[in-house]
């Protein structure tokens, strides 16, 4: 079995799948208010509905490009990839799921870690990829986040993690659960080193990611209307056998219950982050 498949360095070109999407349909309908937008206008507004302010899904590459100054960043640890350690097979094999996800998303796993600048300040920025097996956290996400934290400590650079995740990756069994402890151990060191860490929660952030790094920032902020919780709404409905109240587990609900420092509009996010880092970093 080949453990080290040789391949060219990862370049950040738009993958063929994204190119195809661009040509399909020039209009996007806001799922909240029904307003139809020119796709280009919507993209210029960071995928926020100009009519009602609803935050639509935002492709990872666009989010990354927006996070860093001039859209310039350099990814690291892209070569750490998942392996089917348990020989897991449900309706298809985990090995196939990994291969398909890599093919369809153009990413190697559910998180991208990068270095770049934000407001002129060098930072480490990680963005989760919801399209990659539900943004699930297995050994690769655990390892990459841990390495990103260690890099932040070594280089004394602030860390920003943008979360989007359905939770831990079941196909790696208890290995996935162990990633929570590993990441938290690294975060304890980051905390001791007094390096700033801002956690940005986006729609949706649930399960093991909420129960570890997403809730452990020096500041935890979320985009408006994001679903954030430990248990998913369906699990809760099944447990208590009643309908959940409207707005339950949305950003504004968490803010009202004291679980977030702020809900920040995507269009103001950069300014918030730059100002926060000016406050925290030296």
């Amino acid at each position: 079995m080949a453990w080290f498949r040789r391949k060219r360095n990862i370049t950040d070109e738009t993958p063929p799948t994204d190119r195809k999407v661009r040509t399909e349909g020039l209009f996007v309908k806001c799922p909240a208010c029904g307003t139809t937008h020119f796709k280009k206008d919507l993209e210029a507004n960071l995928n926020v509905c100009s009519n009602c302010g609803h935050h639509l899904k935002w492709p990872t590459r666009q989010r990354l490009a927006h996070l860093f100054d001039e859209g310039r960043y350099e990814t690291f640890d892209d070569n750490i990839v998942s392996t089917d350690i348990l020989g897991f097979f449900d309706t298809k094999s985990y090995a196939d799921r990994i291969a398909q996800a890599r093919q369809s998303t153009g990413f190697n796993d559910a998180i991208v870690c990068a270095e770049g600048r934000l407001g002129g300040r060098p930072i480490i920025g990680c963005v989760m990829v919801m399209e990659f097996i539900g943004g699930s956290m297995g050994s690769v996400v655990g390892e990459k986040v841990t390495r990103a934290i260690e890099r932040a400590i070594a280089k004394k650079r602030p860390l920003i993690i943008v979360s989007a995740s359905g939770g831990a990756r079941m196909m790696e069994g208890t290995y996935s659960l162990m990633q929570l402890a590993k990441i938290c151990g690294a975060l304890a060191r980051l905390d001791a080193a007094r390096i700033p860490y801002i956690s940005v929660l986006t729609d949706p952030t649930t399960g093991g990611v909420t129960a570890s790094f997403a809730m452990l920032g020096d500041i935890n902020i979320a985009e408006p209307g994001a679903l954030i919780g430990f248990a998913g709404p369906r699990v809760i409905e099944q447990t208590i056998r009643q309908k959940l109240p409207p707005g339950f587990q949305r950003s504004e609900f968490l803010l009202a219950h004291g679980m977030l420092d702020a809900v920040v509009d995507r269009r103001q996010m950069r300014k918030f982050l730059i100002d926060a880092l000016d406050f925290m970093a030296r």
């Binding site: 348990l86 208890t174 659960l177 938290c184 151990g185 129960a211 790094f213 699990v235 809760i236």
Partner: protein, 329 residues
């Protein structure tokens, strides 16, 4: 040579290589050895799940057996002078987690336990009172508050883990179940005392890890440690909760594969047909393991403990590095 021995040898080689400054050639050697270790681990994992006499789902059923000894049965059998301490100082006292100080073999220790029913009383109302062992945020916050107190006085902490999972309910979410679990894990990772976790029934995901990010992890023979319940996994991946037996087997949640993976350190044999047949004997079976690991950990300074704890969890993961960075053109 036995696979486990081979792994040990390879790991020793790796440790030597890793301590020196790396050249690209050494990096390649490290990668090669790591791959070898992984292949061996995978082989062991494959073998370990083939227990002909008992399926993983049978173990799940035993782990959930209504007559199984619960945390307080272990606590009263193994310790003397147990005094329970209550409350998170913020909201409430959660009966699903019991905490307190006691003596073990004459020495002061601190105890945390997830409790599924009242002590020696297991009617529906006794189970409901303990919320079937599903803690709410206040339970986790009580546990970490008191573990930090114990660590302040450098007393070892023993955690008995037995939960289907953290409580998935409206009020738990309102009070920040995710944050409570996350906070517990990060704080446990930097406790200055030795910590030993014993899974005595169900090790239900983050709800278990929130009191189980320990220096050493032990499992009784008929227990499970899982990232999601077999039913939950089956209903998501097979869209059919009745496929739980398949999920239980696929996720490798029984003690043998978890020990092979290094996730737990030891498996504690159970008496007779299982712990539910003899509570006293089941508790006594735990005693020598506590003695062994408490002795082992008692020699370490707080700094060393915390460092080794971090290293322990850093090792746990299965991934492939496709092309060593140092070799890229």
């Amino acid at each position: 040579m036995e696979k486990a021995t081979q792994i040990k040898l390879l790991e020793a080689q790796l440790a030597q290589l890793a301590s020196a400054p790396h050249t690209p050639a050494q990096d390649e050697e490290i990668m090669r050895l790591q791959a070898q270790v992984r292949r061996l681990q995978q082989a062991i994992l494959g073998e370990a799940n083939d227990t002909p006499e008992m399926t993983p789902m049978d173990r799940v059923k035993l782990a959930r057996h209504p007559d199984r000894p619960y945390a307080l049965d272990f606590i009263y059998a193994l310790f003397t002078d147990f005094h329970e301490l209550h409350g998170d100082r913020r909201f409430a006292d959660d009966p699903a987690i019991v905490c307190g100080f006691a003596r073990f073999e004459g020495e002061p220790v601190f105890i945390v336990g997830q409790q599924k029913a009242n002590y020696k009383q297991r009617k529906m109302e006794d189970r409901k009172y303990r919320n079937f062992g599903m803690p709410k945020p206040e339970g986790y916050r009580k546990a970490i508050r008191l573990m930090q107190m114990a660590a302040k006085f450098r007393r070892p902490i023993i955690s008995f883990i037995d939960t289907p999972g953290a409580y998935p309910g409206i009020e738990a979410e309102e009070r920040g179940q995710g944050e409570a679990i996350a906070r517990n894990i990060i704080e446990m990772m930097r406790l200055a005392s030795p910590t030993i976790g014993v899974i005595i029934g169900e090790g239900g995901s983050g709800g278990a890890l929130a009191v189980g990010a320990c220096d050493r992890m032990l499992m009784l023979e008929n227990t499970i440690y899982s990232v999601i319940s077999p039913e939950g996994c089956a209903s998501i991946l097979w869209r059919d909760a009745s496929k739980a037996d398949k999920a239980a087997a696929a996720m490798k949640i029984t003690p043998e594969p978890l020990r092979a993976a290094g996730i737990i350190d030891a498996i504690i044999p159970e008496p007779g047909e299982g712990a539910h047949t003899d509570h006293k004997a089941a508790a006594e079976a735990v005693r020598p393991y506590l003695v062994k690991y408490l002795t082992e950990l008692s020699t370490l300074s707080p700094e060393k403990l915390i460092e080794q704890r971090y290293t322990r969890y850093c090792r746990l993961g299965a991934f492939v590095i496709e092309e060593p960075q140092s070799l890229s053109q």
